[in-house]
Symmetry: C2
Subunit: 347 residues, 2 copies
């Protein structure tokens, strides 16, 4: 049902128009059950209230929603800390929410913006393509802070802060090729998945192509982004193929992969080199240390806050920032880097 108005919502809920109005304006004098029912019906029908009328009554909440896809991912924890610190410094509060793998983070954010009267939204994690229809559920400025999102929505309707996943993954793979590796296994999700996964896989393929190496599907293991996923996938790669290097597109998987290789008695990096991605602190504290592609995640978190507040405070429009990464070379790919200690292992 398109273009619903407040009368339609009231009718569907079996309440009066003034009740719906009170819910919209977060008025205290509404029965909680009724309020939840009205909010639910609005969500179900993608009802978008008439902004001009609403804004008149709307008080600024000075709250920014942070919607995290995968809150247990250690990559996000330092970012959340930076985001909250910076928001507080600038007089805003953070409302943090997690979306599970199966959950729709845009819908979740759309609910929160109403219930929590958010002034802006920062997404951590997610996929790289959203339909315009979905994004238009969001009425406040929003920023994707780790993903190069593309959409059929105009680019000036949202901001992105990201790395160039394909470029960096190609550079990482090239680094292994330059070390002499030709049989390079890759740990990633399925190619079809619309996430950083696919962008990084494309980088891997691109670098192989430059060296005239064809994609060998046996060297590509699908796995989930967990220690266990990396452990099991690397185990089968090492048993079933002749890989001399493994490129894990996340450090968490690289840690699992190294465990598998060491347990099988493989010498690292002589018999198998391992390269991760993200730049988690823990990679400096495995033995040997894990070489990785470090994202400037804290800088990106700071930029996410600056961007969303600049837009809210009308200091600037939407922007798309791309940050360069750095390859950190450690003992997992380079024998000379072994035994250097975690700090010296960071160039």
């Amino acid at each position: 049902m398109a273009n619903m108005n407040i009368r339609d919502i009231a009718k569907l809920c079996g309440v009066g128009v003034s009740t719906v109005s009170r819910v919209l304006n977060d008025h205290p004098d509404v029965n909680e059950e009724t309020k939840q029912k009205v909010l639910r019906v609005m969500r179900e029908h993608n009802y978008v209230p008439n902004n001009s009328a609403r804004n008149l009554k709307r008080i600024k909440s000075r709250t920014i929603g942070v919607v995290v896809k995968g809150i247990t991912n250690p990559f996000f924890s330092p970012m959340i800390k930076v985001i909250e610190g910076e928001l507080t410094r600038r007089g805003y509060a953070m409302f943090l929410s997690q979306a599970d793998d199966y959950e729709d983070e845009i819908r979740k954010a759309a609910e929160l913006q109403m219930e929590r009267r958010l002034e802006g939204i920062i997404f951590l994690g997610g996929i790289f393509h959203y339909e315009k229809e979905r994004l238009s559920l969001l009425e406040v400025p929003f920023v994707f802070a780790t993903i190069q999102v593309s959409s059929d929505m105009e680019g000036n309707a949202y901001s992105t802060i990201s790395i160039d996943d394909t470029y960096e993954a190609a550079r990482a793979t090239r680094y292994l090729l330059e070390l002499g590796h030709r049989r390079i296994g890759v740990l990633a999700g399925a190619f079809e998945e619309q996430s950083i996964n696919r962008l990084r896989l494309e980088g891997y393929l691109q670098a192989l192509g430059e060296y005239g190496i064809h994609y060998d599907e046996r060297l590509h293991k699908n796995c989930n982004f967990t220690y266990k996923g990396g452990y099991e996938a690397a185990g089968s790669l090492l048993r079933e193929t002749d890989v001399t290097a493994i490129f894990a597109i996340s450090d968490v998987m690289a840690i699992g992969a190294m465990k598998a290789a060491l347990e099988m008695g493989k010498k690292i990096p002589e018999e198998v080199a391992i390269l991760g991605f993200d730049g988690l602190d823990i990679t400096a504290y495995t033995h040997p240390g894990i070489s990785t592609v470090r994202q400037p995640s804290e800088q990106m978190a700071l930029e996410a806050v600056t961007t969303v507040l600049d837009i809210i405070e009308q200091k600037s429009g939407h922007r798309h920032s791309v940050y360069p990464c750095q390859i950190i070379e450690r003992g997992s790919t380079h024998p000379a880097r072994q035994g250097e200690g975690p700090e010296r292992g960071k160039p």
Copy 2:
């Protein structure tokens, strides 16, 4: 005097605005004499409270504050996920806030309860003793979810969900003693610190005492709860003393300690055994796996939600729940546990 406001009443009574507010809201925590005085002054001046402002405070926000001391601690991430999931399932929202090391988490929570109209508060991390004066800033039910807090406040004024840190640390140390170790180093903070740190150190001392071993300060290294802290402290222990085992009172430090030992070419566990504490997933994916004392953290997170909501919904009063831990034996302390894989390493 017409159009008096709450500030005028407070001034006339010689009390703070928050006291008048508590009287207006019939809050139990007001001295009866003060309450009668405030009511008398109101009557005398025909003071009519501003109802909309009053209702705003009274309306249920269905929001629980979660105040985390150390949000980058990987121990808390899965707990936060469980807490948000369970709150959502029960129709509540989570408002997450971090307190830095130097910040006063109680004051932070006290501010949030007002600004965010919290109905309850869950603390993750913190210290183990709070003055009654500090805790009385909190006007809504609160639960300490990882710490055995003690206070001069009555025990029925707050809830705790914890492990018995001293008992479990003693058991862990005893486990190393039973393996034959007599020179057991310990990585922890300073003894004076009022945190789990001190409780766990007491357990260490208790177990040594049972075996007639005196505390040797050279074997106790102060360090912060980071990979780097553990790495540096274990490095000096191994260079300067004859320890045959290291008990790190957090897994994060144990990971750093193992890195130091392996880099020095020590055989683990033959030349030095390493035991952690907490039960982080990552401990199963180092090589060798790190033996640890596993806290049932997800169960504790669930209990934190149940407790705070039971109190809010007046289904029960405050309670103090203590959960037992489990020693997970892996290759870092037991040779036979090496090469068993991360899953089989969990008994």
